[in-house]
């Protein structure tokens, strides 16, 4: 990343502001000036993908979607600056807190904001410079690829001369998780997924795709802001909604009552259909967390202690039966 003085000069010249300090906060920078603070968000993707991301943000702002923070233009009217080999955009820095998915009222605020975001996302026009991620129609194929990747982790474990405790645990759970993956693919095929995608592609909407509690900020008077569109994707809104349900209920909190409350709030702005629950149940059924942990351990080799990997796996395995029981009930749930 650019050195401090270069970055400071870059911001000052492009935005005509006098920077007092720049502090890294997670993946962003807090740019402090005498009167106010700004947020500089650097996106580590290629330019055409960056254009898609800021295009999606600007689309929401133009449609006056509540809680989307406006991008501040440079002195020459551009939406971004170059920072080393990447591109970055500037917004106001907001005095907010992170949403807390243990707090039911925060969760209601989050699902309401998501519903509005999806509704406002419709009608998004791409231009030829944008290179988006596309999820429509792809999840059957994606899940098959991910199942193959799980099999690959298994082969890697078998080929190891010395297996770690994590290897043994991961391998022991593999057969059941692959069966679950297969069932989720089968259930997605049996649902009206393809028909739904045909309808959705006409609406030209998009998904946030990383609706984690730390990307949903709550400010004064419970105003909600949605940030970090780095994983934004052209895909069904059901994908975001399923992912939010998992985030709220994982680790022993699976409940139809919670689901019903959240879907009712979502439906205040959007219009869920009867066929949607079977699609969402199939999305939620895929052993995403198990696959992701495998990616982190066997492919990305994230530098975490073995103990951390084991704890994460234990949590996933402890939760799987209860989650599956919930999924079976949810599949038949009528919205």
């Amino acid at each position: 990343m650019a050195n401090y003085n270069d970055l400071k000069r870059n911001i000052e010249e492009n935005y005509n502001i006098e920077v007092l300090d720049i502090i890294k906060v997670k993946s962003s920078y807090r740019v402090e000036t005498k009167n106010k603070n700004y947020c500089l968000k650097v996106i580590k993707y290629n330019f055409s993908h960056f254009l898609f991301i800021i295009g999606a943000i600007k689309h929401l702002v133009n449609k006056q979607c509540e809680g989307i923070i406006n991008i501040i233009p440079t002195v020459t009217g551009r939406d971004y600056i170059r920072v080393d080999v990447y591109y970055a955009y500037l917004t106001d820095w907001l005095n907010t807190r992170e949403c807390n998915y243990d707090n039911p009222l925060d969760t209601y605020l989050a699902v309401n904001a998501l519903s509005k975001l999806h509704a406002k996302s419709y009608g998004f026009e791409l231009n030829s410079n944008m290179k988006p991620r596309i999820g429509w129609f792809k999840w059957i194929e994606n899940y098959r690829t991910r199942s193959d990747e799980i099999v690959n982790f298994g082969q890697r474990i078998i080929e190891k001369d010395t297996k770690t405790a994590f290897d043994s645990m991961y391998l022991e759970a593999m057969e059941e998780e692959l069966l679950r993956a297969e069932a989720s693919i089968e259930n997605l095929i049996c649902s009206e997924y393809i028909l739904k995608m045909e309808e959705e592609i006409q609406l030209k909407g998009f998904c946030h795709h990383d609706y984690a509690h730390h990307n949903v900020l709550i400010g004064e008077n419970q105003k909600v802001f949605v940030i970090d569109f780095d994983y934004c994707i052209l895909d069904s809104h059901l994908h975001d909604l399923s992912s939010l349900l998992i985030r709220v209920m994982k680790n022993g909190k699976w409940e139809l009552r919670t689901t019903k409350d959240l879907l009712n709030i979502y439906n205040n702005t959007s219009n869920l259909q009867e066929k949607d629950t079977a699609i969402m149940a199939a999305f939620m059924e895929f052993p995403q967390a198990y696959w992701q942990l495998g990616i982190q351990y066997y492919w990305e080799r994230q530098p975490w202690e073995e103990e951390i990997y084991i704890k994460r796996l234990e949590k996933i395995l402890e939760d799987r039966q209860e989650k599956q029981e919930f999924i079976e009930d949810f599949r038949l749930f009528k919205v």
Binding site: T96, R97, D102, N103, P104, Q222, G252
Partner: protein, 248 residues
């Protein structure tokens, strides 16, 4: 970043007459009057801290909802474990006790949660979020005291939360060993805090939750302690006693 936050918090505390100390002399007086006085200290602490999080998001933990979610998870795990134990052919003494006492405890636990919701749990969260309430977490007499200033030994459990929980933590601890008028104390807390009367019953519902039973059960289930079956059985019996009577 952490240092900036820490100094900001300490500065805020000190500016408001709250000081962190290494130790506090043990107070073994659990008379009704002493507990009432202690409730006044807690109310003063809450008053001085209110709104702090509104301008300092991220400095303190946000614990709102965590306790209730933990309680709901406990209930599910206990239900599942009872079923599992019942299907076991050879039952250990702990499992036998769990089958014997578990269903009754489960009813009590579910009742406590239902009553908490009935007596304004969500409304309390709403109020707490709007006012920026801060809960101390460890609200016992050995952790906070008034001596000209407010002195606190440990602030690590302090966070955004409904302030009723400080009453719950305090009364649960007192109830373990002393039979005081908890109805009166919960009421006094609400008076001192100037919060809705329904919060009295919310507090009593949460104090009635079988906290010690669940704590012991979780230790058994998670294998966190290397106790043998007999020790676990004895501890569970003790927990039953510590949880005492239902207050609502």
């Amino acid at each position: 970043m952490e240092n900036i936050y820490a100094s900001t918090l300490t500065k805020y505390l000190n500016n408001n007459g709250i000081f962190l100390v290494d130790d506090l002399a043990k107070n073994t007086d659990y008379s009704l009057e002493t507990i009432k006085k202690h409730i006044e200290v807690l109310a003063e602490f809450h008053k001085r801290m209110i709104g702090y999080t509104a301008y300092n998001y991220g400095v303190l933990a946000n614990s709102t909802g965590k306790l209730m979610e933990r309680y709901k998870i406990n209930n599910k795990k206990l239900k599942r474990q009872i079923r599992l134990c019942e299907s076991n052919k050879d039952k250990s003494s702990f499992e036998t006790l769990l089958i014997d006492k578990g269903p009754e405890i489960l009813i009590r636990a579910e009742h406590a949660i239902n009553e908490a919701y009935r007596f304004g749990y969500l409304e309390a969260i709403n109020r707490s979020m709007k006012r920026g309430e801060v809960c101390l977490g460890n609200s016992s007499q050995s952790n906070i005291r008034m001596e000209n200033n407010i002195l606190i030994r440990d602030i690590s459990d302090c966070g955004s939360n409904i302030l009723e929980l400080d009453a719950v933590y305090l009364l649960r601890k007192v109830k373990k060993n002393f039979a005081l008028d908890f109805n009166l104390l919960a009421n006094y807390f609400c008076e001192m805090e100037n919060i809705a009367e329904s919060s009295k019953d919310l507090i009593l519902a949460l104090v009635s939750y079988p906290h010690y039973f669940m704590k012991c059960f979780n230790r058994y289930r998670e294998g966190r302690k290397t106790w043998d079956e007999e020790k676990f059985t004895n501890r569970l019996m003790e927990a039953l006693k510590n949880d005492g009577n239902i207050l609502i």
